[in-house]
């Protein structure tokens, strides 16, 4: 299965037409796919809280938005999630590369990985963890759930889900 294509197909099927991204090695393919889709306006951000601001504005402008980012950014977006996305009750699918999990080659990534779910839990953010490729089958339902409840929702996608890091 082409995960990058499936993610974009589901985004488009759920009327998500504004996507901001901050790069991660694991997300390179899906970012490229987002960029190539005519149905999606892709705007790279320099930092994830900035991206959440862009998404908030786009949502109020009538477009469903989403952010693609790395889990390390949970550490820099807590305030934005609490005082903007949650406080004003805005939906925001967060497609997150879950670095520092099984098959991770970079030790430092584990340091934020061990906090990721705890922080999301503390924030009462509905969180889904994609570990197997078949988990992508839930993505469409997660998007529908996000726009039903008007909340930020996290989809953590680990290295195993993406097929590992090859020779590393």
């Amino acid at each position: 299965m082409n995960l990058d294509k499936k993610i974009c197909d589901d985004l488009v099927a759920n009327d998500v037409s504004f996507v901001t991204t901050v790069p991660c090695k694991q997300l390179a393919g899906v970012i490229e796919e987002v960029d190539q889709r005519d149905e999606i306006f892709h705007i790279p951000s320099n930092k994830e809280d900035e991206g959440m601001g862009l998404c908030a504005g786009a949502f109020m402008g009538g477009r469903r938005s989403a952010i693609i980012m790395q889990n390390t950014a949970i550490g820099v977006t807590i305030n934005t999630l609490a005082t903007l996305t949650q406080y004003y009750r805005m939906p925001l699918p967060m497609i997150i590369s879950y670095r520092g999990e099984l098959r991770e080659p970079v030790a430092c990534q584990v340091e934020m990985a061990v906090h990721t779910k705890a922080l999301l839990n503390q924030m009462n953010i509905p969180t889904y963890h994609f570990h197997w490729q078949k988990d992508i089958e839930e993505f469409d339902n997660i998007l529908k759930y996000t726009f039903m409840c008007n909340k930020p929702v996290a989809i953590l996608t680990d290295a195993n889900f993406w097929g590992g890091y090859g020779d590393q």
Partner: protein, 184 residues
């Protein structure tokens, strides 16, 4: 002029347009001077007025004005390249640059010392950056709104605050009426 005097002066210019207003005193002042459903008041999240307004401008065609401050822009400088590289003609970023963090007690910002936000915005790739003195803002802002070109305005003014109450309107109400105004 101080920020509240500037907001009083430009209120008739921005009244009929979508405005995203910075956290703290700027939102409180605008709310007191001329509350409109077309105003989105930020109650938190320092630094994101520019980004929220820009996302809004990209998502629809009506003119959008982000009212920001020098301290807030310094918090989110990274968004200036994003704005520059995705420029949209219906967006105006108004930076009220009083050289201080007004809402927290007028501590000086670096914009009031060596750092020029006009030069920073230009260096980030913004093509239409105008630095203006407070008393001259009105016509410059009107021209920016009327123009098909995205404009960044850096309005130099005095620091200083007036006493006024906090905004007690619920955030969901602010969002709801703003979205209705956007869609109307």
């Amino acid at each position: 002029m101080i920020r509240s005097e500037i907001l009083k002066e430009i209120a008739p210019i921005i009244r009929d347009h979508l405005v995203v207003c910075n956290i703290g005193l700027p939102s409180q002042e605008l709310h007191m001077i001329d509350d409109q459903p077309t105003n989105f008041y930020m109650l938190g999240t320092m630094g994101l007025s520019s980004s929220i307004g820009f996302g809004l401008a990209l998502a629809q065609d009506k003119p959008v004005i982000s009212i920001d401050g020098d301290g807030s822009v310094l918090t989110n400088l990274g968004t200036l390249p994003t704005i520059a590289n995705n420029a949209t003609g219906n967006y105006t970023l108004l930076i009220i640059d009083n050289g201080s963090y007004g809402s927290t007690g007028d501590q000086p910002t670096y914009a009031g010392r060596k750092t020029s936000l006009t030069a920073v915005a230009t260096a980030c790739g913004c093509e239409n950056v105008v630095e203006v003195q407070d008393k001259d803002l009105g016509p410059v802002l009107q021209a920016a709104i009327d123009s098909d070109q995205m404009t960044i305005i850096v309005c130099k003014c005095d620091s200083g605050n007036i006493k006024l109450p906090v905004i007690t309107m619920d955030p969901v109400v602010i969002k709801h009426r703003f979205m209705q105004a956007v869609a109307s």
